[in-house]
Amino acid sequence: MVALSAWLKDALVATPGATRAVVKRELINTAREFYRETTALREFVGPLTVAADDETYDMNTYISTPSSYEVVTVLSASLNQIPLVRLPDRPHGPYSESETPNQYFVLPASVVNLWPRPMSQLDDSLTVHVALIPKESVTTLPDDAALLYYDALRDGLMGRMHGHPTKPYTNPILAQYHLRRFWNAIGKARAAVKTADARGLSWRFPGFGK
C-alpha cells in the first residue's frame, strides 16, 4: 500500500494557496474515477459457501479489505468452477429453485443474485471476480497505483485542481492538458487490463497456411 502523501507532496509545487484537505479530496476522487473506469483493481472472492434458499450475496462483505475498498462491479462468477451466465436484469416472474443455479444478475452493483434460487447448501462453491474502487475515507492506495499509474493519478489530480475557479492555482489551459493525459492513461490502462498487459505479439501464423 502506498500513502497518499506521495501525490500530495508532488502537488505542492503546482497548487500554491490550496487548502490541503481539498487536494486530498480531489486525489481520492481521481483515484475513484480511475479505478472505476479501468477496473484495474480486481479481486477474486471465494470460494464462498452458498446457503440453501439464499440467493443474494453482497460482495462488499467478502472482499479482503472492506475498510479501504468497495465493489464497483462484478466481472464474473462461477459455481463449482462452472462459469455462471450473467443476466442483464432480474428475470420476470417469481424465483424458481434449482440444485445448481446456472445464472446470476447483479442488483445493486455489489450484490450477486443467483438464479434460480439454490435448493441446498453448496460448500465452498461460489467464486466471484470483482472490480474495486478506493473508499472516500481511504488513506492509502494499492501498490500498483504508485508502480504503474502514478503519473496518471497525478495528471488527474492536477487537472481537477487547475480547473477550480478563482484560485491562485487556477489554470484552465493546464487543466485541459493534464485531463487529456489522464483520460489517455485511462484508455491505456483499460486496454492493458483487458489484455493482461501482454505487450508482446500474441498473433501467430495459422498452421493451415504454412
Binding site: 500554491p16 494557496g17 490550496a18 487548502t19 490541503r20 484537505a21 481539498v22 479530496r25 477550480h164 478563482t166 484560485k167 491562485p168
Partner: protein
C-alpha cells in the same frame, strides 16, 4: 510560536502603530468585529478554507469572541496574513484622515488578491 486570534490582533496593531497598551486607539472588541467580518469575506471568496468545518449542508464560519482570543488559529497558516491585512485595512477605514484611505484600500485589496491569486 503558534498563531492565535490574539497574535492576529497584535500583528494588525503593529501595522496600525497602535501598540501602546496604556492607550489603545481601538479596543480588542473592534478588532474582534473586524476579524469576524474578515472571516465571512474569506468564506465568500474561498469557501474551501473552511472545508473541515463543513456540517450537514454548509460550511460553519467560526465566530471569534472575547473568550476565544487565545484559541489557536484553526486554518492553514497561509490564510493568516491575508486576515491580518483585512483587519488592519478595516481598522484604517475607521480613521477619517485622507492619508489613511489609500492604505485602507491597499490593505483590503491585498486581502482579496492574496486569496485568489499569487
Amino acid at each position: 510560536m503558534a498563531k492565535t486570534w490574539q497574535t492576529l490582533v497584535d500583528e494588525a496593531r503593529e501595522i496600525l502603530q497602535d501598540t501602546d497598551s496604556d492607550s489603545y486607539r481601538l479596543q480588542d472588541s473592534a478588532f474582534i468585529n473586524f476579524m469576524n467580518r474578515g472571516l465571512q469575506a474569506m468564506a465568500t471568496v474561498r469557501p474551501d478554507v473552511f472545508w473541515d468545518t463543513f456540517a450537514t449542508d454548509n460550511i460553519v464560519v467560526p465566530e471569534v469572541t472575547d473568550g476565544t482570543l487565545g484559541d489557536a488559529f484553526p486554518f492553514d497558516v497561509t490564510f493568516y496574513h491575508p486576515l491580518v491585512h483585512y483587519v488592519a485595512g478595516a481598522a484604517e477605514i475607521l480613521d477619517d484622515e485622507f492619508t489613511t484611505d489609500g492604505r485602507a484600500m491597499a490593505l483590503l485589496n491585498t486581502f482579496k488578491q492574496t486569496l485568489v491569486s499569487i
